[in-house]
């Protein structure tokens, strides 16, 4: 496969994944909106859970299956495409669900149609309606699918990332890497711009927004439920069950590896540092952008911050490694700096999207009252305010921090290129072992690695609850 063919193949696959994903997400959102309030939380859980399954886990499960399809390469490509679609659909659902109220309402659209407007005016109305969020969702799915490299490497799916791996077999100079990366970046730019506009939108919370309610036909609801079952089965339950089987096989070898706690500690340290940097930058950006600058300034700043993410983790890692090998920066080559820069570059776009969604969820009307209560003289009132703050906004913020940390914790390509000697996060060690094909011994270690972020989150929640009870006594 030539470079052009590899890029074209990736573009075609990403376009199909994005199109299908956006269509499916539209149906899924309607299904969620039609659920009774008591079931909504479960509905959201079932939609979101496939997105949070790390590629290590799906790779662990499907690597052998993919290799066994050696006689049917098209089936392997189909399986890879299917898994990627199942993992990215939740992103589109979130974008569609948590976007600001559009300038053009459904009623305005309908009225526009009645007035027989010119096609250009009609189009302008459409672009300013909720349709813009469908475009943003499509573009974001395209970017996610186009950049996917971890699972593609494990399943040997064709595409530009795999081509680049191969090209590096004999080593490439920094300039050549940058030249090669240019095409994928240029291809992503048109898809990046709608996402940029979506992110640059002031959440402009409109408490009077009229929410649309579409009742989907029964067959569509049935299809959505089938899709969700298939997604959970393929991306969560089957890999999960393999993991459980693997625990049984690998539990003995786990205790013979004294380096495991250190590897987990390294991954947690990388995750924590990335959380602080990525969330710090995002919060600072939002504060600066929406208070100090105009819309064009905001978009320009966003563009600069998110551009490194367009390179994808492989190319970004290579470029950073190359830059830190040049004379002026060589002193920092074997420090944590290159890795932290890379991690933040890759995680920042996802963090910004997450933040934007959270802000679009709406600020509770009680926020102001809670802040007043928090500055009350009485200790009890202040404690109640803190608890209320947790209930209204704290939980969501905690979820954001956990998700960003989870992404950084399981990032594997960047540490493989940029980690200094002595730093070996557990995800990287597992990923390398998967490539060596030592599948049987990995189950227990992977299960432990997966469990740790949840345990850390649980410990935090328990501590918070304990402190809150203790202080209210």
């Amino acid at each position: 496969m030539s470079w052009i063919e590899a890029i074209l193949w990736s573009v075609s696959r990403a376009a199909v994944v994005a199109l299908l994903g956006t269509l499916i997400a539209t149906g899924v959102l309607r299904w969620i909106e039609a659920l009774p309030p008591a079931r909504k939380a479960w509905g959201w859980c079932s939609v979101l859970v496939p997105f949070f399954v790390p590629s290590l886990m799906t790779g662990y499960c499907y690597r052998d299956t993919s290799m066994a399809l050696v006689h049917f390469p098209w089936l392997r490509e189909f399986l890879y495409g299917l898994i990627v679609t199942m993992q990215v659909v939740p992103v589109a659902v979130v974008i569609l669900a948590f976007s600001p109220t559009p300038a053009t309402s459904a009623a305005a659209l309908y009225t526009g149609r009645l007035f027989n407007l010119k096609p250009s005016q009609q189009w302008r109305l459409i672009v300013n309606s909720r349709f813009q969020y469908h475009i943003a969702a499509f573009c974001l799915l395209f970017l996610l699918s186009f950049q996917e490299a971890d699972l593609a490497a494990l399943m040997q799916a064709s595409g530009w990332t795999e081509w680049m791996f191969t090209k590096h077999a004999a080593g490439l100079m920094l300039g050549e890497t940058m030249r090669l990366t240019l095409w994928p970046v240029l291809i992503q730019l048109p898809f990046f711009i709608p996402v940029l506009f979506w992110l640059g939108k002031d959440s402009n919370l409109n408490s009077n927004a009229i929410s649309h309610f579409f009742r989907s036909p029964k067959w569509m609801n049935g299809a959505v439920i089938l899709w969700l079952i298939a997604s959970i089965l393929t991306v969560v339950l089957v890999p999960g069950s393999q993991l459980v089987l693997g625990i049984r096989v690998g539990i003995g070898s786990l205790f013979q590896q004294p380096s495991v706690p250190r590897e987990i500690g390294d991954a947690l340290l990388i995750a924590a540092t990335t959380i602080v940097c990525a969330i710090g930058i995002t919060a600072t950006f939002r504060w600066m952008a929406f208070r100090k600058r105009g819309r064009s300034g905001t978009l320009l700043m966003l563009f600069c911050l998110l551009l490194p993410g367009l390179l994808g983790n492989l190319a970004l890692g290579l470029i950073i490694a190359g830059i830190f090998q040049t004379a002026p920066l060589q002193f920092a080559y074997d420090t944590p700096l290159p890795l932290i820069l890379g991690e933040v570059g890759v995680i920042l776009p996802k963090t910004m999207i997450l933040f934007h969604c959270v802000i679009c969820m709406g600020v509770p009307a009680s926020k102001h009252f809670i802040s007043l209560l928090g500055s009350a003289v009485g200790r009890r009132q202040r404690i109640s305010a803190a608890e209320l703050q947790w209930q209204t906004t704290g939980r969501v913020r905690f979820a954001v921090v956990t998700i960003v940390g989870f992404w950084a914790y399981f990032e594997v390509l960047l540490p493989s290129i940029l980690a200094m000697p002595g730093l070996a996060p557990v995800g990287l060690v597992l990923y390398n072992n998967l490539h060596y094909g030592r599948i049987a011994a990995l189950g227990a270690k992977l299960a432990l690695a997966l469990l740790i972020p949840f345990l850390v989150a649980l410990v935090y929640l328990l501590l918070r609850r304990f402190c809150s009870r203790f202080s209210s006594v």
Binding site: M67, T166, H168, G171, T273, Y333, D334, N432, Y436
Partner: protein
């Protein structure tokens, strides 16, 4: 006022904790011997931990990143040539090490370990020394094919190789194998041969472990792999057998190699590790490990596991791997162009 003070204090505390944690991680390699190790860490780590325990010399291992292939340690060492971070390079094969020697990345060292390794597996100038080899073998699913050379050879010569698998020849020991073929068949010969191999449907898969998996599961009938991968399959209970791959009657034994990096400032510790790795004790340990590496120096044969004894004899019949170092670069360039066209 008090709240903002608390917040500032918390931020400062978090920053201090992060800086302290990263400093601790950085210190791991400060007074340690840095070893870049391309050998499978599942097996190598134990050896290096034993070395640490015996000598008190702290070792930090940087494993090969199979995930990023090219960013393998040979490429990394070439990149770091003017600013070396590594002290000792333990490669799982020998051709990449020879490339480093040619590029001036390695410095000569002839210690006690060097003396016990046969000439055919070491650099005459002492820039690298081979030890503990693996053999290139046919792996055969015993339920699907007879296990003898008269069974394998006709299959290999047949018009249909769709049930045969080999690892991607751009990497690892398969690249060494192809470099040998480059020498044997010549540039045009190997190109024709490889084209024919693919034309007959031979499956090219990511690595030797995958070849083993495919044959063990019956997806393919036979393939080329290394002895260490074969033994992993055998230990997992797969119905597989092996035969040595021979070229003009000679087997292919690809040793690990160890070398000291030019510019290391821990020369004494590096020398101790090199002598340790080249010792009889380590060769025996590797022979008894799950990978069943073949000792290249003289060892007490009664200490060898039964299944390694025939391998030790086959290793004595091996081609001289040092003879096809020059072919590696040309072969790799061609394979890369072939893969990306």
């Amino acid at each position: 006022m008090f709240n903002s003070f608390l917040r500032s204090a918390a931020v400062i505390l978090v920053l201090v904790v992060f800086v302290a944690a990263w400093m601790l991680v950085s210190q791991r390699s400060e007074d340690a011997l840095i070893v870049y190790c391309a050998h499978d860490l599942i097996f190598a780590k134990q050896i290096l931990e034993d070395f640490e325990a015996e000598t008190g010399i702290k070792v930090v291992v940087v494993g090969d990143t199979e995930a990023t292939k090219s960013l393998g340690l040979v490429q990394r060492l070439l990149r770091e040539m003017n600013n070396p971070k590594c002290d000792v390079f333990w490669n799982n094969q020998v051709l990449g090490t020879m490339e480093l020697a040619g590029a001036g990345v390695l410095q000569p060292y002839k210690g006690t370990g060097y003396e016990r390794i046969p000439d055919q597996f070491k650099d005459a100038d002492g820039r690298w020394t081979g030890f503990a080899g693996r053999l290139r073998v046919w792996i055969i699913n015993t339920e699907l094919m007879p296990v003898d050379e008269t069974g394998v050879e006709p299959h290999f010569a047949s018009g249909d190789l769709s049930r045969m698998a080999i690892a991607n020849p751009m990497y690892g020991t398969t690249l060494s194998h192809f470099s040998l073929l480059w020498n044997e068949l010549g540039e045009e010969g190997i190109k024709e041969w490889y084209e024919d191999l693919k034309h007959r449907g031979c499956k090219i898969v990511p690595g030797n472990a995958t070849v083993k998996n495919l044959v063990a599961k019956g997806v393919c009938d036979f393939g080329w792999t290394d002895t260490d991968d074969f033994f992993v399959g055998l230990d997992e209970g797969a119905l597989v057998a092996m035969l040595p791959i021979r070229h003009e009657g000679k087997t292919i034994c690809l040793p690990n190699s160890v070398a000291m990096i030019q510019g290391t400032n821990r020369r004494d510790d590096a020398a101790r590790l090199i002598d340790y790795l080249l010792s009889e004790k380590v060769e025996l340990k590797l022979a008894r490990s799950a990978s069943r590496q073949v000792p290249l120096g003289s060892v007490d044969e009664s200490e060898l596991p039964e299944e390694v004894k025939p391998l030790a004899n086959w290793a004595k019949e091996s081609v001289d791997v040092t003879q096809f170092a020059d072919a590696r670069t040309q072969c790799l360039d061609w394979l890369q162009a072939e893969a990306l066209k």
